[in-house]
Amino acid sequence: MNPVEGFLLWSSIFVLLFAFFGYLTGTVFKKERLFTISHRGTLAACVLMAAAIGVRWIATGHIPVMGTYENSLVGAWTVVVGLVVAGRYFPRGTLLSLVLLPLALLIVGNGIMTNAVLAPLEPPYQSPWLYVHVLFAWFAFGAYLLASTVGGLYLVRSRAEGRDGVERIREFLPPLRKLDEICLRFIIFGFITDAVMIGAGAIWARGLWGRYWGWDPIETWSLISWLTYGINLHLRLTLGWKGKKAAWVALLSFVGILISFFGFGLVEGVHTQIMKPR
């Protein structure tokens, strides 16, 4: 890790931790001011992380897409960006932040524990299609993550409706119909960017392996995810599913994405095979 990058990244981690505890304390002790400070903190952390990514990009001479550390860095940043975008719809942004901030911290923490050495882009990654592929993969992943989180919060709010203490939930969550629509919007955004991701990956694969589709486990899982969100959209838009049913589907769909994502390191597909003397 380059020292400037290290400084920026660690600062962002501290700010995120601070924001998380700010939201937590604010929620428990009803301190309005803490929400404002935490929100600003999240924004600052988002900028700091972006700067860390930029510094690393310049230092290595390539977009950070290689290895667990670089992927975690960009992944955590995507989550924070998603939080900032979606947070606008949530009164005080707190419930969403309480779910997503720990997640972003976990992702970046996991990355820091691995090798963060500055290395050039390995030959298989040297393709402009890779940039498109990875960038859109993160868009899609972030959008699906948010869709499922919002779906989960929909279920939380719908459970609370008609019970005691519902006022408290109302302070923090938008009305059900709004949650439903936000969820749909993230699914749509994810579905479109996912399609771009798969298309760019296919063109890249053709130059690398001579075929654009090879049914390797990662490719298959990316198709499964895309079809799964296609089903989500069909259920919502052609069969008119709304409310709790649709929220459950959105929440569970993400499980598929997670398997595909963490499959990266675990599954022995061509995706894990790099050019080495053999």
């Binding site: 290395a119 050039p120 390995e122 030959p123 298989p124 040297q126 393709s127 119909r177 709004k178 629509e181 749909l184 919007r185 749509i188 579905f191 479109i192 399609a195 771009v196 798969i198 298309g199 296919a202 063109i203 890249w204 053709r206 130059g207 690398l208 392996w209 001579g210 075929r211 654009y212 589709w213 049914w215 486990p217 298959t220 899982w221 198709l223 499964i224 079809l227 799964t228 296609g230 089903i231 069909h234 259920l235 838009l237 052609t238 069969l239 008119g240 598929g256 790099i274 050019m275 080495k276 003397p277 053999r278």
Partner: protein
């Protein structure tokens, strides 16, 4: 009968069911153990221990699944269903179905004329009949949906074209040894369509270069080819063309040359051998016509540290082999040998007189890619149009101090309600201000 089939194909529920079946099969396919990738012994063990799992895997594991003709029925049904639905929808044109309804009203002094002008200024398409005004926006979005589903159909076309025209084979080249392309030159042919149209070019791996940063990180690998006498550089990710075919660099390795004589002084081997080994790993070769086998461990950049031996870097700066000679499985001896040296190991006199590279190339052809890329383009374009232009309609009645709006929108009701409210507020403000 036909009517019934078409009716089912047009059903939206059926489309979702097909997609769900597809997803479930693919999930099973990737999760079940891959029997085709097992050794016969592993497969037997699994069959004995878990006969049911073995049978299910044999049928549904991804590689078996996609090769099965029965599986093709599913994408075919999806194709037919999508095609039928898209055809019917394009014929009937945009309809205001599904979506959300929203009604709102408020006080306003504006008449129909002014309301119409207000809406037109906000880029609604306005039609008037009496006191009632109909205003539309984004109805073009419907065609986005059609383009999107056409894109889906094109994927199937791409897959069919690929499976009919795809060629994909592995070609092993060793530095300095020319190869004439033809059926017998490939190590393995994965997809053999169109072999006849492969130009019978002569391909020579003139030189292979590998670049590492600080001698550690892989930076660039290139096969410098002569294809029918013409220089072509093939880097990883940057293939070259041979006619309609593409030649890409897939893997590479080292190919040492050994000269070996036995204890009677007879030369028993003089060859360049393609070894499959990464720095420090083992491979072995038999000496034909003799009982000898040689195991080789390679150290591209040999170094010693105390009693330990190893390679400093992956770069062949100081290439040394550790060779172990066996005779019918019995170990005869082992020893180190550097480039251009002669050593006696296990009774054999071995000269290591050259080190070259080999490169494993993928020669391929696939016309389906361009259809696939085209379909992704249509899919993304279609979706962007569909969801970017939110399809909506207002039916407005105005007069006698009131405005009421019956609104319909395809998606995004929350946004839509705010929009309707803004119109009501503007109408209530009473004055239409064209700059607002």
């Amino acid at each position: 009968m036909l009517d019934k089939a078409i009716h089912i194909l047009l059903s939206r529920k059926f489309a979702v069911e097909l997609l769900v079946i597809m997803v479930v099969l693919l999930i099973l396919g990737t999760s079940l153990p891959d029997i085709s990738g097992m050794t016969p012994r592993e497969a037997e063990t699994l069959q004995a221990a878990k006969p049911l799992l073995f049978r299910i895997s044999a049928a549904l594991q991804l590689q078996s699944l996609i090769a099965s003709p029965y599986f093709l029925i599913l994408p075919l049904l999806i194709f037919l269903s999508t095609a039928a639905c898209t055809a019917r929808r394009s014929r009937s044109g945009a309809r205001k179905e599904g979506g959300f309804l929203h009604e709102a009203s408020g006080a306003s002094d504006m008449g129909p004329e002014e309301i119409g002008a207000l809406l037109a200024s906000e880029r609604w398409r306005v039609t008037r009949s009496g006191d009632s005004i109909t205003a539309d926006k984004g109805s073009f979005g419907f065609w986005g949906s059609i383009v999107f589903h056409l894109g889906l159909l094109l994927i199937f076309v791409a897959v069919v074209i690929s499976s009919l025209t795809q060629f994909n084979a592995e070609l092993l080249l060793t530095e300095g040894f020319p190869v004439r392309l033809g059926r017998d030159t490939f190590v393995k042919i994965y997809k053999g369509n169109g072999l006849a149209s492969l130009p019978p070019a002569t391909v020579l791996l003139r030189k292979f270069t590998s670049e590492y940063e600080n001698d550690v990180y892989e930076k660039d690998f290139a096969a410098h080819l002569l294809i029918d006498g013409k220089e072509r550089e093939v880097h990883v990710n940057r293939p070259a063309d041979i006619g309609d075919f593409q030649i890409a660099l897939h893997r590479f390795g080292f190919a040492p040359s050994f000269r070996i004589t036995d204890s009677t002084g007879k030369e028993i081997l003089n060859a360049t051998i393609n070894l499959v080994l990464a720095g420090g790993q083992e491979d072995s070769f038999r000496i034909p016509g003799t009982p000898y086998e040689v195991q080789a461990r390679f150290f591209p950049d040999f170094a010693t540290e105390g009693k330990r031996i190893g390679s400093r870097t992956p770069v062949p700066n100081n290439p040394v082999f550790l060779l172990r000679v066996t005779e019918q499985g019995r170990e005869m001896g082992e020893g180190l040998i550097g480039l251009n040296r002669t050593e006696t190991i296990g009774g054999l006199t071995i000269t290591f007189d050259g080190l070259n590279y080999w490169a494993d190339m993928i020669v391929s052809r696939d016309y389906g890619l361009w259809f696939f890329a085209g379909s992704v383009f249509l899919i993304v374009l279609g979706l962007a149009v569909r969801f970017g232009l939110s399809d909506k309609q207002l039916v407005v009645t105005a007069g006698e101090g009131r405005i009421s709006i019956r609104g319909w929108c395809k998606y995004y009701p929350m946004f839509f309600e705010d929009q309707v409210q803004r119109i009501i507020d503007k109408a209530a403000a009473g004055k239409y201000n064209s700059t607002s």
